[in-house]
């Protein structure tokens, strides 16, 4: 599975994002995090191949997420579904 790491100065929180390479909301979220210098990792689920896809699905569901994108996990315990700027700002103290 190809997890991409984006380095940023703002790295006090662990941010992981499940995204789709074609999704406009996901692109907007990636842009927003980059603009705010947030360090984060993401995986474009549509580019995941074979059985890893099912694994990703289980991972998202186990974390209490739904299969819509982007799904953002902050510090392994805060789950944000969709590009909800206010929620992201709150969780990342931006």
């Amino acid at each position: 599975m190809n997890v991409v790491k984006v380095v940023g100065k703002n790295n006090k929180h662990k941010v992981f994002m499940y995204a789709l390479s074609t999704c406009a909301w996901c692109k907007m979220t990636k842009r927003f995090l980059k603009d705010n210098n947030v360090e984060f990792e993401y995986v474009d689920v549509d580019l995941v191949v074979g059985k890893d896809k099912e694994k990703v699905k289980q991972e998202i569901l186990d974390k209490g997420g739904s299969l819509s994108y982007p799904t953002i996990v902050v510090d392994d315990n805060i789950l944000i579904n969709g590009f909800r700027k206010d929620k992201i700002k709150e969780a990342l103290e931006l």
């Binding site: 789709l20 390479s21 074609t22 999704c23 406009a24 909301w25 996901c26 692109k27 907007m28 689920v45 549509d46 191949v49 074979g50 059985k51 896809k53 099912e54 990703v56 699905k57 739904s66 299969l67 819509s68 994108y69 579904n81 969709g82 590009f83 909800r84």
Partner: protein
Amino acid sequence: MTTLDEVKRRAESDAKTYGYHLNPDPAFLKDLLEGLKSNEERYGYPSCPCRLASGKFEFDRDIICPCDYRDPDAMEFGACYCGLYVRKDVYESKTSLSPVPERRPMEKQARAYSMADVAEEKPSEPIASAKKPSDVKLKLWYCKQCGYVVFREDPPYICPICKAKREFFAELQMRLDMFS
């Protein structure tokens, strides 16, 4: 190969026909159109850029743009799930869109994840929902209000002809004596 302009023209023409507008944010719109173009190139049809497709037409039929969920989503939230099509009042108010919750049933979403395993699937595995495209059962549905007939897995949420709600659709049972 489909060009970005063709994807845009197609979306514009559909928006006009059904009384919608395309997303007023040029950067957002460009991302959406590029996503549609990528999907058309890799799957052979423009499935929703914001949903995971299986790559099997039968499984993705409901999320090929304009998706089956556009009309009810636009009615309730002012835009479709990905934000490509927006309602006139939302377009004119210039307010920024909020994410639209996913309406597509979970069992249909899940199909895109298990597709990769179909080839190596063991016969003893319990089948939770349709795993093979051939498991998708198509039926004839008719709108009791206007008579529109559609051959799909489920009836439309809203009749594309007369705008009647899903409750107005009934399964069309065909009998041989109907033709005698």
